[in-house]
Amino acid sequence: MGKLTIDDLKKIKERVKRDTALREGGSTVKITVHMGTCGIAAGAREVMEALLQEMSETERQDIRVMTSGCMGMCSSEPNVTVEMKDKDPVIYQHMDANKMRQVFKRHVLLGEAQTDFALARMKEPQHEGEDRI
């Protein structure tokens, strides 16, 4: 790397900011891939891979990907929960890589919940302590 100008500083900042922003906590969208044993067996890992690929292609810095355990409905796995600020969380069921990409593009980025894949819309944050979004 050669000598920086003030604009180069800004470019580096933009490029790296997403990483460091993640470490400061706080976000407007939280996507939880349920990765209990049942979820992983049903293909949650592929769902996660697809999600991370989508994540790397977006400029957005306010999206967090989390994992959590089985929700208790193993037969509906892989499950993914999308929580957006000031909106009720939506749980998706029987997810795969393609559905994940669609949910990310439509729901996460554009705010259109994909009701075809949805298992339920929840009224409350799922678990105590998970309402930090």
Binding site: K3, I6, L9, I12, D19, G25, S27
Partner: protein, 1009 residues
């Protein structure tokens, strides 16, 4: 750039390095790869996270989960549970020391949530070895602004506006310093960074360099522009290898990016710097010595002026700033001086980083706004003192600073406010000390440090500190004299005033501050050869002996019991204490709190063994021989037949006097009889031990109240001396409306009536207000009388001053405990009392180190009771005399001689101190006897009696191996059996248990070699 869903921010500071964080990092990385998460999860070694005591610490983001004390063995489970299955691993969460609550989230841990991070804003977030990450967090934006948009005057102007003062300790305004240097004429100027952090207890600068080295470099670039320098040095000690390594990486990266070197950011401004490694001399933290050291000369200070701003390094104008000062600079330039000055006090702006260490739960690095009180830092952020010990003092500024005692904890962190109480802000070392610290030894330690670090150039520092150290050594070895204290003070002032540099000028500070706040401790060392903390080796007998107010030879009698020599054991106990069966049952045992065995598993059951020895003596009918001095034919009146009076009378007999006890109540014993119920202290034991004292040659006149039946003046006339030990028997009032209604009574008065046989009617439902032993005793007594009892206390259970064992017993017996309620008023309805209570919440910490209960708005409870007891404390009844001087309802005496304002009249115990422990009253009685002997011998023109003790041979051997074994458990009656009557709850050890327990003693009284 690759996207990871989770970042594991593992602390890579020096403290976490030392506790194994790099091994954990390796294990994490390996496990992540093996679990197929390499594309999802990334591990970053950050700079110091600040919470060093909990290391290695790991923060998982974006989840904001905080893990502490992570070991390599924890890694597989952590990865499997948290990273694969998304279930945070609870067992590695932080546990709040005050409440024992498990807290997972970073923001919820008070240690973090109460801090304001400016200097440390990147800690635990950045990889300090990656410059891009610093840039992503606004890095080098301040330098860009300064170089491209601002003039030197504008930079200085913003710095002056910010009010930033030198964080190295002296607090000189940074803007002003820069202004001097910028106006100074010269072709070459230097910017220097003082990273020679060397005082014990300080690790702020090291941590900043490790966590955010670029912030310091950026600060130096801005300083260089402000004063017109093109070269800089960072003077960092060689003993900070990690800081040096990260600085080196940072400098190379900055050079690669052209942020150091020629034409920085295309501004036409040139600046470069290098690191100079110091060899670790404390004096090199002084600016002129530091510059000499860089010049390759011996690190010694020179007189100022000329000041470095005019003639510094190589006689060129120079600016020297400390690491923390420089790390503040980029933010000030970026956000403006006004932004910086928006927090802080009038004279001290911004934030300050403190290295919090010592006797505090949360050891680590803390950044708070200036003006935050010491109490907030130590209690709110630091989590208070571990193991329920008492706060004693906090040392600010290390060897150059002073200590601040408990009553000044509300002092704000402000340069002037701290100087006013005799300490200095210093560079940020904050060492908390609890009651186990000896202040004389502490002062000696710091002076020893300064004396060794003195460069020797000027005589006051070189010789003065040496002489002072000799005096302190003498005192800690028990060879001190009272005149030493004056000499110490004189020398201290001389060294302070006449030393050449800051090292000598501040070296006497710890001595002066301890003399100011803890003079009594110096006097104890000199006059009584006693070090209560048990620290000074020459004054040390054993942890338990030094802690015991009457100096019981604990390891001796434990060893005798272990050998089955019970008669020798009881004789040894009697040398210091005439009430062993009583103390064995009700003593609050300060000995077990310090017991060395407690560090292995559990402390020794010291009072239980004393009780066993006393019970054994009674059962087997051992005769205890009393070694009395020759009769002196002088009489002493003792007012009050409680533990203080009894002990005084007993020891007076041993010294050859003829004491007479005057007691108002029908029987002797005082609070032991009329305050402690029989189920804790059986009356036959009490009667027998009192009888032994009477048989030794003590007269007693019961039913005689001084001030009513006989006047104090009369006693003074009839007797050669008088000892007043009237105790504290009057209940304090709750001061609420309705407290004078019938059915509302004092707790202490009630216990007395019960003992007198008046058995007052309490009704079916009883409330007891208070959290001390009297409250618990009243509650348990009422329960035994068949009532349903509730104890009402305004704080939390853990704050109750009553003994934990007693509270537990009370709850077992079916007594209800309602906490966080404070009395508001008492009304009457249909012949019953309606008790209104405010529900409370705990707010800030008060002088007692506990949180203050404050009534919650609009939360009032009302309950009906038949009887309400106030048991919130007692005070002495001093109506027996108008002529004895008193202050706040207690008698005023000389602390050591126990003399009152009246000649020949001495006083001690609760009447002087307010309600205290039985063992304190015993100690006061013993002291009174010795002092009265000194007084009367003086009148007779004789020498006072020497201490006479029969030699009892004790085996002096330490156990060869220590096997983990818990303290023996005291057998007790079941709760159902207990509440049927007043039978003793605890039944005592049997012979086998007792001897086995004694074998656990580590014998820290045995001097080896």
């Amino acid at each position: 750039m690759k996207t990871y869903r989770t970042h594991l921010l593992l602390c890579g500071g020096t403290a976490c390095h030392a506790s194994g964080s790099m091994e954990v990092k390796e294990a994490l990385e390996k496990e992540i790869v093996e679990s197929g998460l390499a594309d999802e999860v990334r591990v970053i070694a950050t700079g110091c996270n600040g919470f060093c005591a909990q290391g290695p610490v790991l923060v998982v983001q974006p989840d904001s989960i905080f893990y502490q004390k992570v070991r390599v063995e924890d890694v597989p489970e952590l990865v499997e549970e948290h990273l694969l299955k998304g279930r945070p691993l609870k067992r590695l969460f932080y546990v709040e020391p005050a409440s024992f609550e498990t807290i997972p989230g970073l923001e919820e841990i008070p240690f973090f949530s109460k801090q304001l991070l400016r200097v440390l804003r990147n800690r635990g977030i950045l990889d300090p070895e990656v410059i891009d990450e610093y840039i992503a967090r606004d890095g080098y934006q301040g330098a860009g602004k300064a170089l491209l948009e601002m003039t030197s005057e504008e930079i200085v102007g913003q710095m002056k506006k910010s009010g930033l003062r030198g964080r190295g300790g002296a607090g000189f305004p940074t803007g002003l310093k820069w202004e001097f240097a910028s106006r100074s004429k010269g072709d070459i100027k230097y910017v220097l960074c003082n990273a020679d952090e060397g005082d014990p207890g300080a690790f702020m600068d090291r941590s900043v360099l490790e966590a955010d080295p670029h912030a310091v470099l950026e600060g130096m670039i801005i300083a260089a522009k402000a004063i017109g320098a093109s070269h800089g040095y960072i003077y960092c000690r060689a003993e900070y290898p990690l800081a040096l390594r990260r600085l080196d990486i940072a400098i190379n990266q900055a050079r690669d990016y052209g942020l150091l070197g020629k034409d920085i950011l295309g501004s036409g401004f040139d600046f470069d710097l290098e690191v100079y490694q110091g060899a670790g001399a404390f004096v090199c933290g002084e600016e002129t010595a530091l510059m000499h050291s860089i010049e390759g000369k011996r690190g010694m200070p020179r007189p100022r002026p000329p000041f470095p701003a005019h003639q510094g390094l190589w006689k060129k104008p120079s600016v020297l700033n400390n690491v923390e000062t420089l790390a503040n600079v980029p933010q000030i330039i970026l956000n403006g001086g006004d932004w910086y000055a928006s927090v802080g006090t009038e004279g001290s702006k911004g934030t300050k980083v403190f290295a919090l260490s010592g006797a505090v739960n949360n050891i680590g690095l803390v950044e708070v706004p200036m003006g935050t009180t010491l109490r907030e830092i130590i209690y709110e952020i630091g989590g208070g003192i571990p193991e329920n010990k008492k706060f004693k003092a906090v040392q600010l500024g290390g060897p150059s600073g002073g200590c601040i005692p408990g009553h000044l904890l509300d002092t704000p962190t402000d340069y002037e406010a701290i100087a006013k109480v005799g300490a200095i802000m210093g560079s940020g070392g904050m060492i908390v000390m609890d009651e186990t610290t000896c202040m004389v030894d502490m002062a000696r330690f710091f002076l020893d440090f300064c004396q060794e670090e003195s460069c020797g150039k000027c005589t006051p520092c070189r010789e003065g500190t040496k002489r002072m150290l000799e005096i302190l050594n003498r005192i800690t070895e028990g060879r001190g004299e009272m005149s030493d204290l004056d000499e110490l003070e004189e020398l201290a002032v001389f060294v302070k005033d006449s030393s050449l540099c800051g090292l000598g000028q501040t070296a006497p500070n710890p001595v002066l501050a301890t003399l100011r706040y803890f003079r009594e401790e110096y006097e104890d060392h000199i006059l009584e050869k006693h070090c209560a903390a048990g620290i000074c080796a020459d004054l040390y007998q054993a942890k338990c002996i030094n802690a015991c107010p009457v100096g019981q030879q604990v390891p001796g009698y434990l060893s005798l019991v272990a050998e089955g020599r019970y008669d020798d054991a009881i004789s040894l106990i009697y040398q210091n204490n005439p009430l062993p069966g009583i103390c064995g049952r009700v003593c609050t045992h300060p000995c077990t709190d310090v017991c060395l065995r407690g560090q292995t598993d559990e402390p020794m059951a010291i009072p239980q063994i004393k009780r066993f020895a006393a019970d054994m003596a009674r059962k087997k009918g051992f005769s205890i021989t009393i070694n009395k001095a020759a009769p002196k034919g002088q009489k002493v009146a003792v007012i009050g037949g409680g533990p203080g009076g009894l002990a005084a009378a007993y020891h007076l007999v041993l010294l050859g006097y003829e004491p007479t006890i005057f007691e108002e109540l029908p029987k002797l014993g005082g609070m032991l009889r009329y305050g402690i119920p029989a189920y804790r202290l059986p009356r036959d034991i009490l009667d027998q031990e009192i009888q032994f004292i009477l048989d030794a040659g003590v007269h007693a006149k019961t039913g005689q109240r001084v001030g009513r039946d006989i006047s104090l003046e009369h006693l003074v006339e009839d007797f050669d001396a008088v000892f007043v030990a009237v105790g504290a028997h009057k209940s304090l009032s709750t001061r609420i409306p309705g407290e004078d209604r019938p059915g509302v009574r004092g707790g202490a008065e009630f216990l007395r009536e019960v003992e007198l046989g008046a058995v007052p009617e309490v009704g079916a439902k009883v409330a007891v207000v208070g959290g001390g032993n009297v409250a618990v005793d009243v509650a348990r007594t009422c329960k035994r009388m068949g009532a349903e009892v509730t104890i009402l206390y305004r704080r939390e259970r853990r704050d109750m001053p009553a003994y934990e064992e007693e509270i537990e017993d009370a709850l077992e017996e079916g007594i209800e405990l309602k906490v966080l309620v404070a009395p508001k008023s008492i009304r009457e309805r249909n012949g019953r009392l309606v008790f209104e209570l405010d529900e409370c919440e705990l707010r800030e910490f008060d002088a007692s180190g506990r949180r203050r209960p404050i009534p919650k708005e609009g939360c009032v409870l009302a309950e009906e009771y038949d009887t309400i007891f106030a048991a919130i404390g007692q005070r002495p009844d001093l109506s027996f005399s108008q002529s004895v001087e008193s202050r706040r309802s207690t008698i005023v005496t000389d602390r050591r001689t126990l003399k009152t304002n009246l000649p020949g009249v001495f006083a001690g115990g609760d009447a002087v101190t307010g309600p205290a422990r039985v063992v304190d009253a015993l100690a006061a009685g013993r002291r009174a006897a010795v002092e009265i002997d000194k007084y009367l011998a003086g009148i007779r023109g004789e020498a006072p009696e020497e201490e006479r003790k029969e030699e009892i041979s004790i085996t002096m051997e330490v156990p060869e191996e220590v096997i983990k074994q818990s303290m023996a458990v005291m057998p007790k009656l079941s709760p159902e059996e207990r509440i049927r009557g007043f039978a003793e709850v605890e039944s005592g050890f049997d012979e086998e248990m007792a001897r086995k327990e004694c074998g656990r003693c580590l014998r820290c009284d045995v001097k080896l070699g």
